[in-house]
């Protein structure tokens, strides 16, 4: 569906994207994962034909984005970063404009818009001025715009950034739903988001692809075990020794010590839930368990694991 071959993009002398190649098959949900400034947005802008690549070629379906931009762009629905909108328009007019420029027939236009408004949950605000909508609704309007013209491919740049937790869950569910019928590429700087939504993950850093893998293989490579943070005021050496005896525990590290308080990080073996055993041990051994919490793996940890550098 999408074929990216040796694509590089320079801004002046700065290389924003460095020799990227990958393919996306029909029906896949692919996630671009990388920190801010990694080249995710630039890659998406080159894919959508907003910017042209300095080197390399991109094929959308059968169409080269440079040689046949109009046909290629017809296949893509795009939600740019920060969701640009015409704030003065109401939702229906806004979508109507995009139906016009995407060449929807007059006779099908209103039905098509109504259907999309229903799909993304904008019925209540269909006649509201966009400037008056909440951020979550604006995000939906942006996604609705991308869906106009029933493109086969959706490209969503940071679709959940800046939303509150409830809105994030709603938008993620919407993307999952859309992914059933469309090819989706989305970008994020949050590992959990990409692993929750995508079947395949492309990790990108400093303009280069660091890893392309299915979610399962990537998690395998990352050896994601649990990491549990424990706060105690008992003697940390004794606690650590006992911890090492708990089944499934791989590493025990003292992170911080302040007065009598010790913060200890416990890592488990792959896919082992050690929380129950750990807390049981603390109590039966007579230690004071002040806090126990699960630490999620940060993107930085992922990069250190994958690239071997800090």
């Amino acid at each position: 569906m999408i074929e990216v071959k040796n694509v590089s993009k320079y801004y002046g002398k700065v290389k924003a994207v460095d020799n990227i190649s990958f393919n996306v098959d029909k029906g896949e949900i692919v996630g671009f994962l990388g920190p801010n400034g990694a080249g995710k947005t630039t890659t998406m802008r080159v894919l959508t034909g907003f910017l042209s690549a300095t080197e390399g070629s991109i094929k959308i379906g059968d169409h080269d984005i440079v040689e046949n931009p109009v046909e290629a762009k017809k296949m893509i629905g795009y939600l740019p970063e920060n969701v640009p909108l015409y704030f003065e328009m109401n939702v229906t007019d806004y979508l109507g404009f995009f139906a016009d420029i995407k060449g929807i027939n007059k006779s099908e236009k209103s039905g098509h818009i109504r259907q999309i408004i229903g799909k993304v949950g904008l019925k209540k605000v269909a006649d509201t001025i966009i400037g008056k909508l909440s951020k979550g609704f604006r995000q939906r309007v942006g996604i609705a715009q991308a869906l106009i013209g029933e493109p086969d491919i959706l490209i969503l740049d940071e679709p959940t950034i800046g939303l509150d937790p409830n809105q994030i869950i709603e938008i993620r569910n919407l993307i999952k739903e859309l992914g059933k019928e469309k090819t989706v590429i989305l970008s994020s700087h949050i590992l959990q988001e990409v692993s929750a939504l995508c079947s395949r993950i492309i990790i990108i850093s400093e303009g280069k692809v660091v890893a392309i893998d299915t979610k399962e293989d990537l998690m395998e490579k990352l050896e994601v075990g649990q990491r549990i943070k424990i706060l105690t005021d008992s003697d940390h050496k004794k606690v650590a020794n006992k911890m090492k005896e708990v089944k499934g525990v791989k590493h025990v590290d003292l992170v911080r010590k302040e007065g009598s308080l010790s913060e200890i990080m416990v890592s488990s073996e792959k896919e082992k839930d050690i929380r129950k055993d750990l807390s049981k041990m603390m109590i039966t051994s007579g230690f004071n368990l002040l806090e126990q919490s699960k630490v999620t793996m940060s993107l930085e940890d992922v990069f250190i694991k994958l690239t071997g550098k800090n």
Partner: protein, 240 residues
């Protein structure tokens, strides 16, 4: 092609009508225009000749007002990022530019429509000479289209509306001044300056003369400005 241009044109007009600035400009247009219409009635006192004088003044007033209309056309799309949506939709750059140009021109002609009211008043109390009035309005459309093409070219270069407006005003002022100072200059310089002035080519129209040399002049300036705007947009460097 035509459908795509027209979609953009409709959107531009719609956005103009919901913008606050457009109504402030309309207010000034009617206030100053109305005042000068009144002044010409008292000064000229000949219904047949009032409108040509007034149309000449309209050419001057419009170069002061047009920058406030054109300043947002590309700058606002660049600032808000909506330009990215236009440029990733299945539209060509020339369709976007032509659509915006046409939309801005048609919107400004709505302002001009209000001056028909003056025509009605003149017809009620005297006998205006419709020949020069019709050619005058025709010439005005060419003149205004030229102003707008300058405004669009400058608007595509900046994401700041204020900068866009002020630079356009300065540019249009420049073309007004060179016409004005040309009469004080010697020889060839006078001819060149006089030829380049937007307003000098307009005068003949308000006298009832349609001269193809003036039409060709306006069409070449408009064509050049729109061509440069399209190229800048295609190049994308002005957009990112």
């Amino acid at each position: 092609m035509i459908n795509n241009i027209w979609s953009i044109t409709k959107k531009e007009i719609k956005l103009f009508f919901v913008s606050f600035v457009a109504y402030i400009i309309l207010f000034f247009f009617l206030l100053v225009g109305g005042y000068y219409f009144y002044v010409y009635i008292y000064e000229v006192r000949d219904a047949a000749r009032i409108m040509p004088y007034f149309l000449n003044f309209l050419g001057f007033l419009s170069f002061l007002l047009t920058p406030f209309i054109t300043m947002r056309v590309f700058s606002e799309e660049k600032r808000s990022g909506t330009i990215e949506l236009l440029l990733t939709s299945p539209l060509k750059e020339n369709e976007i530019v032509l659509g915006k140009f046409l939309g801005t021109l048609l919107f400004y002609l709505v302002y001009i429509g209000f001056t028909f009211y003056y025509l009605i008043i003149l017809s009620a109390y005297g006998k205006p000479d419709f020949g020069p009035i019709i050619t005058g309005y025709l010439g005005f459309i060419f003149l205004e289209a030229t102003y707008i093409s300058v405004g669009l070219l400058i608007s595509v270069m900046t994401r700041n509306q204020i900068v866009s407006g002020i630079v356009t005003l300065i540019a249009l002022l420049f073309f007004w001044i060179i016409g004005w100072v040309s009469s004080y200059l010697p020889g060839i310089l006078a001819d060149v300056f006089s030829y380049l002035s937007f307003l000098n080519h307009y005068e003949d129209f308000t006298k009832g003369i349609i001269d193809t040399k003036h039409i060709i002049y306006y069409l070449s300036i408009i064509g050049l400005n729109l061509f440069l705007t399209i190229r800048l947009l295609e190049n994308r460097k002005v957009v990112v």
